[in-house]
C-alpha cells in the first residue's frame, strides 16, 4: 500500500512529467497567431465567405488542454480547428461549402503551397513558417462547418450554466465526402452533425474538481484561448497516456486514437485529486467503459466507445471493425500501460529505480527533464522557506521543522 505522502510525491513527479509534455507558451501563442491569420484570411471582406462570418476555433486536444509535444521536437504539432460559418448561401451543398473554404485557402499564395491532399472532412495545411529562431511546424486540420443557429449566444449560455442540458445545441454541421447527400443536399440541417464544443463541455465537466468555477472552459473555446499553465489531474492523465501511446506506437497507423483514449479516460475518472490515484484508477477502469452493442450492419455485437454528446449514433471505435488490428493494438496498449504503471509504483523506496522504470514507457530524455524540474522545485521550496523535515524519519515534506537556508559547499575551506 502506498502512503499518502508517497502518493503525493509520485503525483508531483507526474505533474512535472505533464508539464514537460506541454508545448511551451511561446509555441502555443505562435500556433494561435498562425491559425488566427488563417481565420482573418477566410473572413476578410474580399472573401466569398465573408458574409457568413467564418471563424477559426480550436477543437480537439488544443481545446481540451491535453495537447502534448511530439516525440521528436522537429515533428509537426497537430492542431484541430473548426472553420465555422454562421450561415451559408442557400444553394450550397456540402461539396460547395468544402470547396469554397478550400478555394479561399488556395487563393492565398502562401497557404496554397501548404495545402495537403483533400481529406474526407477537412482541409489540412502543412503549415511552415521560419522566422528568426522560431520554427513553426503544424499540421492544421481545418474542418469546414456551419452552425445550426444562433450559435454564439448558446455557447455563452452553455458555458455559464452548470447544467448540461444545452449541449445538444452546440452541435455544428459538417461536410463529409462519404455522405450520400454530399453533392446535392443544400439543407444543412440534414448534414452530418458533429459536436466538438459539446464534447469540450462534457470533458471539462468530467475533469473539473470545482464545478462552481466551471474551469477554464470559456477560455478554452474562445478563438484566442489562453495558455494554461496549471492543469487538472484528468488533463495530466490524458497527456501521460497519450505519451505512452506515442512511445509504444511511434509511427504505427494502428495506434490507439486520442479521442478513444481521452473519452475512456474521462469516463473512468472519478475526480481523484492527485495525479497518481487518477492515473491508476483510470487505467484500471478504462476497459470497463467500452461497451458491446448490437450492430445490424455487422450482425453481431461490436465494441462501442460512444461519443458522450452523440451517444446513439457515434462510435469512436467504429474503425475497429474494418481494421481488427486496431482493436488488438488498443487492448495491447492498455495491458502495457497497466503493467508499466504498476511497475513504477512498485519501485517506491528508491527514486532512482522509479526514474529508471519510467524511461522505457515515456522516454529517457523526457523523464530526466521531469526529474530535473522536480529537483529545481525542491530547491525553490527550500529557498522559499516551505520545505520541512519530519521528526523521526527525517523525511522532507510539508510537516515538521523548516529547513533553513544554506549553501551546499564543494570543498573544505
Amino acid at each position: 500500500m502506498l502512503s499518502k505522502d508517497q502518493r503525493d510525491q509520485f503525483s508531483e513527479i507526474l505533474e512535472e512529467l505533464g508539464k514537460t509534455l506541454d508545448i511551451t507558451e511561446k509555441q502555443y501563442n505562435s500556433a494561435v497567431q498562425s491559425y488566427n491569420a488563417v481565420g482573418s484570411w477566410l473572413s476578410s471582406p474580399d472573401s466569398t465567405l465573408a458574409p457568413y462570418r467564418p471563424e477559426i476555433l480550436p477543437q480537439g486536444s488544443f481545446m481540451l488542454g491535453t495537447m502534448i509535444r511530439p516525440i521528436c521536437d522537429d515533428d509537426d504539432l497537430d492542431i484541430d480547428l473548426a472553420c465555422q460559418l454562421k450561415g451559408k448561401n442557400p444553394n450550397w451543398t456540402q461539396e460547395d461549402l468544402k470547396n469554397k473554404v478550400g478555394d479561399r485557402l488556395k487563393a492565398h499564395g502562401t497557404y496554397e503551397d501548404m495545402i495537403d491532399e483533400e481529406g474526407r472532412r477537412c482541409w489540412t495545411l502543412l503549415y511552415r513558417q521560419d522566422s528568426g529562431n522560431t520554427r513553426e511546424r503544424y499540421h492544421m486540420d481545418i474542418l469546414p462547418s456551419i452552425v445550426d443557429f444562433g450559435y454564439r449566444m448558446i455557447l455563452e449560455k452553455a458555458f455559464s450554466v452548470k447544467e448540461f442540458e444545452d449541449v445538444e445545441q452546440l452541435g455544428i454541421r459538417i461536410t463529409d465526402r462519404d455522405d450520400d447527400g454530399y453533392k446535392w443536399d443544400t439543407n444543412h440541417l440534414n448534414w452530418l452533425k458533429s459536436n466538438p464544443f459539446g464534447y469540450g463541455r462534457w470533458f471539462f465537466n468530467r475533469a473539473s474538481l470545482d464545478l462552481e468555477k466551471s474551469f477554464s472552459l470559456r477560455e478554452s473555446v474562445a478563438p484566442v484561448p489562453k495558455y494554461q499553465n496549471e492543469k487538472l489531474p484528468l488533463q495530466r492523465v490524458v497527456q501521460i497516456l497519450k505519451r505512452h501511446r506515442d512511445m509504444m506506437f511511434n509511427g504505427d497507423e494502428n495506434k490507439p486514437i486520442s479521442i478513444v483514449i481521452t473519452t475512456l479516460a474521462a469516463r473512468a475518472y472519478q475526480k481523484e485529486t492527485d495525479i497518481l490515484s487518477a492515473l491508476m484508477n483510470v487505467v484500471r477502469g478504462m476497459r470497463s467503459q467500452i461497451e458491446e452493442r448490437w450492430s445490424s450492419e455487422y450482425v453481431k455485437f461490436i465494441k462501442w466507445v460512444s461519443n458522450p454528446v452523440n451517444d446513439k449514433n457515434e462510435n469512436f471505435a467504429d474503425r475497429w471493425q474494418q481494421f481488427p488490428e486496431r482493436e488488438d493494438s488498443f487492448f495491447n496498449w492498455l495491458d502495457e500501460v497497466e503493467k508499466d504503471v504498476n511497475l513504477i509504483v512498485s519501485k517506491r523506496g528508491d527514486l532512482r529505480l522509479i526514474k529508471e522504470s519510467m524511461e522505457k514507457p515515456f522516454g529517457k530524455e523526457l523523464i530526466e527533464k521531469s526529474f530535473s524540474a522536480y529537483g529545481a522545485n525542491q530547491l525553490k521550496s527550500r529557498n522559499d522557506g516551505l520545505m520541512k523535515m519530519a521528526s523521526g524519519s527525517g523525511m522532507l515534506g510539508s510537516t515538521g521543522i523548516t529547513v533553513k537556508r544554506h549553501d551546499f559547499h564543494g570543498d573544505e575551506s
Binding site: 528508491d350 527514486l351 544554506h406 570543498d411 575551506s413
Partner: protein, 157 residues
C-alpha cells in the same frame, strides 16, 4: 568582515537532548568534548533509507558521513557532488566560511535537515546527472569571492 555577533555555544548535553527528542530511535553518545550520533534517515517518501553518522567535536564544525549504503555514482562521474571525500561519503552541507552553522545552533534543527536535503538531491543527481540542490560548487567562484573579500578589507584599512 561584518558585525560580530556573540554566539552562546550549546553544550553537548543540550545538543544530544534535542537530537533524541526529534529522533527517538537514533543512537547517541557524548561527553563534554565530543558527540556521536547515528540515525537512519529516509529523505523523501519514495526514497531509500540511509545510515548517517554525525560527529561534533567541541568548538568544531560537525562532520557528517553516510555509513551505508555505499553511494552509487551517476554513469561516467567519478565523484559525488558536494562531499569532502567520495570514499568516506563525507558530506559538505553548508558554507563554513560564512558560518551558516555555528555552535549556538541546534544540530537537529539545522544540519540534520540539510542531511535529508543532501540525500534527496543526491538521489535526483543519480537520476539526472545534475545537482539541483544549489550551493557553491564552482571553486573558481569561491576563490574569486575570497579575493574580493580580501581586496575589500584591504581597501577598508
Amino acid at each position: 568582515m561584518g558585525m560580530k555577533v556573540k554566539i552562546h555555544p550549546l553544550n553537548m548535553a543540550l545538543q544530544a537532548q534535542r537530537l533524541k527528542a526529534l529522533f527517538p530511535n537514533s543512537e547517541i553518545n557524548f561527553n563534554s568534548q565530543v558527540l556521536n550520533w547515528r540515525c537512519v534517515i529516509t529523505p523523501s517518501p519514495l526514497s531509500r533509507e540511509y545510515q548517517i553518522k554525525l560527529v561534533l567535536g567541541r568548538g568544531e564544525q560537525p562532520n557528517v558521513y553516510i555509513e551505508s549504503p555505499l553511494l552509487e555514482l551517476y554513469p561516467e562521474k567519478n565523484s559525488l557532488p558536494h562531499v569532502y571525500s567520495t570514499k568516506k561519503q563525507w558530506l559538505c552541507l553548508y558554507y563554513k566560511k560564512v558560518k551558516q552553522w555555528n555552535s549556538g545552533m541546534y544540530l537537529a534543527d539545522t544540519v540534520v535537515p540539510w542531511i535529508s536535503e543532501w540525500l534527496m538531491h543526491y538521489e535526483l543527481w543519480l537520476c539526472t546527472g545534475i545537482w539541483h540542490g544549489g550551493g557553491i560548487h564552482d571553486e573558481k567562484k569561491v576563490e574569486n569571492l575570497k579575493e574580493e573579500l580580501i581586496e575589500g578589507n584591504k581597501g577598508r584599512s
